[in-house]
């Protein structure tokens, strides 16, 4: 008598599906990142020319059949430098974000789940590190250990720890104040269990977004350090150093700034979009809308 309608019942399964939202950010971000990763991977098996080979007879050539992006003031192939430089960029990004996250996230978590006074103290320590300029750290480490990409990355990584720490502590505190954490405590969960089962998943999206932002900052920081002579030492190709070297010839051959500049922009944009897309993808609240 009710027509083709589901009968009203007390039993329910809930509405909608849990299909994840694959948005344009995720796709475009993944594509751009894939491009950079591909460049780095390809560079291990093949490059058109040795990027470190100095050839005085082919200096500052415009892009042509042999040198697809042209050559720089030392006669080195720009395209090959871009390919190999991708490795440096990825290395820099992952290691510095890795260092920052591996130290910063547990620090922030501790700050959120421990008693207030302990958390506050940890945050003051965090602030001290935050106040210390990354550049100064890079200079100190370079003076002690010599110039290298690794040194630069550790400096950048350490300087990024406080942003993770602060963010995760703040997000963690919010989660600790929710009713579901209260219910978990009443259920008998201890602090460790609550941190892992409730706090971590609910701050994960913060970590992802902060990682992608920090990645971008790390890449630019390495470029700046290279500019000042503290980053990747020559002759290892580095997009940052390519930018630095292009500076003096900016009006003569602006393409020497454009190629590494665009490469950096692609990497930065790609990781930012990927971060946003991943965050949305992992959020169970965002399903496919009909």
């Amino acid at each position: 008598m009710l027509g083709a309608l589901p009968p009203p019942g007390e039993a329910h399964t809930g509405v909608g599906g849990a299909r994840r939202a694959v948005g344009p950010s995720l796709v475009v971000g993944a594509a751009l990142v894939a491009l950079v990763v591909a460049a780095a991977l390809v560079s291990f098996v093949w490059v058109p020319h040795d990027p470190t080979f100095v050839d005085a007879t082919h200096r500052l050539e415009k892009p042509n059949g042999t040198y697809w992006f042209g050559t720089d003031k030392f006669g080195r192939d720009v395209f090959s430098q871009i390919l190999v430089g991708a490795r440096t960029t990825l290395f820099v990004g992952f290691v510095s974000v890795g260092v920052a996250a591996v130290v910063g996230v547990p620090l922030g978590l501790l700050g959120a789940v421990t008693p207030r006074w302990l958390g506050d103290t940890l945050m003051r320590v965090n602030d001290i590190v935050l106040a210390f300029p990354a550049l100064l750290l890079a200079i100190m480490l370079t003076a002690a250990f010599g110039q290298s990409t690794l040194v630069a990355m550790i400096a950048i990584g350490v300087a990024t720890i406080p942003s993770f720490g602060r963010l995760i502590r703040s997000g963690g505190l919010q989660v600790m104040g929710t009713e579901y954490v209260l219910a978990a405590r009443v259920a008998g969960r201890r602090t460790a269990g609550i941190s892992v089962r409730h706090v971590l998943p609910n701050v994960a999206n913060l970590v992802i977004v902060q990682s992608s932002v920090s990645f971008a900052i790390a890449v630019l920081a390495e470029a700046a350090l290279s500019f000042l002579g503290f980053g990747t030492p020559p002759p290892t190709p580095s997009w940052g150093r390519m930018l630095q070297e292009s500076q003096e010839l900016l009006f003569l051959a602006p393409r020497l700034a454009v190629f590494p500049g665009v490469a950096i922009a692609v990497a930065v944009l790609g990781f930012n979009l990927l971060g946003d897309g991943l965050r949305d993808y992992l959020d169970p609240k965002l399903e496919d809308r009909r």
């Binding site: 007390e10 039993a11 329910h12 399964t13 809930g14 509405v15 909608g16 849990a18 929710t178 009713e179 579901y180 209260l182 219910a183 978990a184 405590r185 009443v186 259920a187 008998g188 969960r189 201890r190 602090t191 269990g193 089962r197 409730h198 998943p201 609910n202 994960a204 169970p284 609240k285």
Partner: protein, 285 residues
Amino acid sequence: MSDPVLRIRDLVKEYRRPRTSLARPGPVVHALRGVSLEVTRGERFGLVGESGCGKSTLLRILAGVERPTSGTVEVDGLQVAGRSERRLRPLRERLQLVLQDPMSSLDPRMRVKGIVAEPLVAQGLAADVGRVADLLREVGLSAEAAERYPHQFSGGQRQRISIARALAPRPEILLADEPVSALDVSVRAQVLNLLTDLVEQRGLTLVFVSHDLSVVRHLCERVAVMSDGRVVETGPTADVYDNPQHPYTQRLVAAVPSLEKALAGATTADLAAAELRETERTTAQ
């Protein structure tokens, strides 16, 4: 006479608000000013009061997630006030909590099966699929609900999930903090019926906290009225409502709107009359 399963004596809770000046420490808040109550086994006990009366603080101390400044709380013969988490295990096995806000009382990133099984996992009890399915069915949800996330359910359904979670470790005592206040009228009736059934079937002791007198009247046999950190009146619900003794209870009962009062001609002025007299009395002081 049934033995008291819950015995609260002279419970006091004070805390300082954060400083707003360098010279003086923050003001002291007297959340509880010496509360004593007894709840017998299997009883349905209501706790009524408005915001700031201390009922939520009392509930948190009972649930073992907050320590009192002084006083004792005995649950089934066990002293629980001020105990460390490690020694509160026996409490967690006996007493569970259903909270008010269906939106925030369930972890949005956890599937329903994880949420409902949590007390079992936390206490090292068997947490298999069958047990979760049984619990979901008992609260009127289907077993398929286990795979879904909280946001896919309505407010009433989420409260059912909360109830299923609370019942998982087979507690003897159920504390409920305004569990139906955030629900629509028709959903409220369904969830109240569910609570009535479950409490009856399992012989639970229920402590039901609410600002809504009518709901407490429906569900509870005895009620305690709280105001400003103190219990001002206790007694069988019908007596307290029909014949309130304490001035605060009288004001409270007078201010509640109801269909019967309205159809008998009560206006908003009538409801507000007792409150207005009180405001005039306090400003005159």
